[in-house]
Subunit: 343 residues, 2 copies
């Protein structure tokens, strides 16, 4: 992977799981284990904790001896804060030579015990929700290299995993491709990126330009989408990301059967066709050659045979490749091939 | 005017002009004199300065005695910073009992002499470029009252003055109407508002909801537009503002003859028709009843007779009211009437 132009996180990671007993709170750790296995060398569970990623258990000192350079807080809790009884373990990590990386809302530097130790030892406290400083206003200028953006009908339905799966499939075919992360989990997986939702509005499109810079003509940036152009709260972020990333290719992401926007019950999820039309229409502003290669349909809640039939039916109905990247198979191969088809 | 739900600036103002000799740097002061005469009771010019608003000259102490409650820095300079030789005059203002208000990039609290004096005296240092804290994510819920948004084909062509002129015309007709400011000059004029461009992306639509809250059924909020839905850098801000303000009525603003986006020479200015279509299409997401009442055409650079003919021709071509609010007249009356027509 090319280094991100922005945040570059130290690695590999020791995954910190605290004393968590609820697997639902450890989604970040599981995502890292599944999507960034090369970046994860072990886990650190405190007394009382019962959640495990299955990675080798090790202390911060053992992890450092085996090459770890950062301890990543791989769990959330309901309040998004860092409980006081975790602080000693994080300090132990700093003293063992590890930087601390967090995707939580609470800022690491606001915890005096951590800040003082990190400053004394010259270690880093890295909050991946903090965007870099000095992001420029977008220039709108075209740049070399190819870009793909995953575009959603709604939030939280597979834009990140679709982008990761496509980047992996491109690389499997010998193509130079980078996953470009725009949210906290994606940034931890990629080891860098920009948290688009935290960028000041005026610079949001500029952040997307910075995230997918000029590259070799055959290089692909696979940009993780955010929100939806139809989202009553986040459409502005989605449009800034579309304009700034100037994608050559879109893949529209949808969850089979989702009818109402998550958390916005009065708002219907737009149709796939509407989403394609609107994304093309708006995206043409900064890349007149933009095209939609197909659809990523999240069928995780369906049985395999029902899902397979639905993917076929939708591909016929929409007249384009429709695949669930988590199920791979021929449908996914067709989607990848269409992404890479000459414009 | 209803108090803004957000920043509420103290007033009336003493306009601080420093030692400026270049009228172009005093646009903020001139705008305040022209659009907020009730908020401006005098000006304060330092030795060496030659620019005047024509308002009575007074010292901070004299201004305070006559009711002033804030001194507004009504000039910019090339660097956007506050020269050290202005600081003594600003301190004098604080000591005279005035708060200091600035629209510059440099933050007032970062100037030690000002911060210390303000803290000692309990005076406020107010940077109108700083958005309020704790802006919520947009809810998307409909709210009572009527809203109008000015929507531009580009930046800097009259969205703020159109909104001010419409709010004034509504009030002249006995309608309860508030101008809702979204940029720094507008905020100084209105005495409150939210600088949309400085809000973190995820909260931009939420800021627009906060700025134009639920109101009496007959009340109108006239919201100052920002950017353009076709702007390669700022379209995200424009879309967030459109979604969050949920306008019932749009007025599209354009400058006669402008062909290329300001500062983006490769980008053509969209047509008025395209802009109407796109704004309606996107705005329907949060207000299905949205409609365009007409066009505000900036003809400041044209002779009166040429402008009058152009406004007529455009009204015929577009089949809707087209007016230059700075020229008032019958065309503007038609635009106002169409804004207020029953939906």
């Amino acid at each position: 992977m090319h280094p991100s132009p922005i945040t570059a996180l130290p690695g590999p990671y020791l995954l910190f799981l605290g004393d968590t007993t609820e697997p639902g709170y450890a989604k970040t750790a599981f995502g890292l284990r599944d999507w960034a296995p090369d970046r994860c060398i072990g886990e650190h569970v405190l007394a009382g904790g019962s959640v495990s990623t299955g990675l080798p258990a090790m202390t911060p000192a053992q992890a450092h001896a085996q090459g770890a350079r950062a301890m990543v807080i791989g769990v959330a809790n309901a309040g998004g804060f860092i409980p006081s009884h975790w602080v000693a373990a994080l300090v132990e990590g700093l003293e063992a030579g590890l930087d601390i990386v967090s995707g939580m809302h609470a800022r690491l530097r606001d915890i005096p015990g951590l800040r003082d130790t990190a400053d004394r030892l010259g270690r880093q406290l890295l909050d991946v929700r903090q965007p870099p400083e000095a992001i420029p206003v977008a220039s709108g200028r075209r740049r070399s290299g190819k870009r793909l953006l995953t575009v959603g009908t709604d939030c939280a339905l597979g834009k990140k995993y679709t982008a990761l799966a496509l980047a992996g499939a491109f690389r499997d075919r010998g193509i130079d491709a980078d996953f470009r992360a725009t949210g906290q989990t994606g940034i931890l997986i990629a080891g860098g990126g920009i948290p688009m939702d935290a960028v000041v509005s005026d610079f949001a499109a500029g952040a997307a330009e910075l995230l997918s810079p000029a590259a070799a003509p055959g290089h692909w940036d696979i940009v993780e989408g955010q929100g939806s152009l139809f989202h009553p709260a986040y459409a502005g972020v989605s449009l800034a990301l579309l304009h700034g990333s100037q994608p050559d290719v879109l893949v529209v992401c949808h969850q089979a059967g989702r009818k109402a926007m998550l958390g916005y019950p009065g708002y219907a999820v737009p149709t796939i066709e509407e989403t394609i039309c609107m994304a093309i229409r708006l995206g043409q502003r900064t890349n007149p050659a933009i095209r939609c290669a197909g659809v990523s349909l999240n069928t995780a809640h369906l049985d395999a045979d029902v899902a397979a039939r639905l993917l076929e039916d939708e591909a016929r109905r929409l007249d384009c490749p429709v695949a669930d990247p988590m199920r791979r198979g021929e449908a996914f191969e067709r989607l990848v091939a269409e992404c890479l088809a000459p414009a």
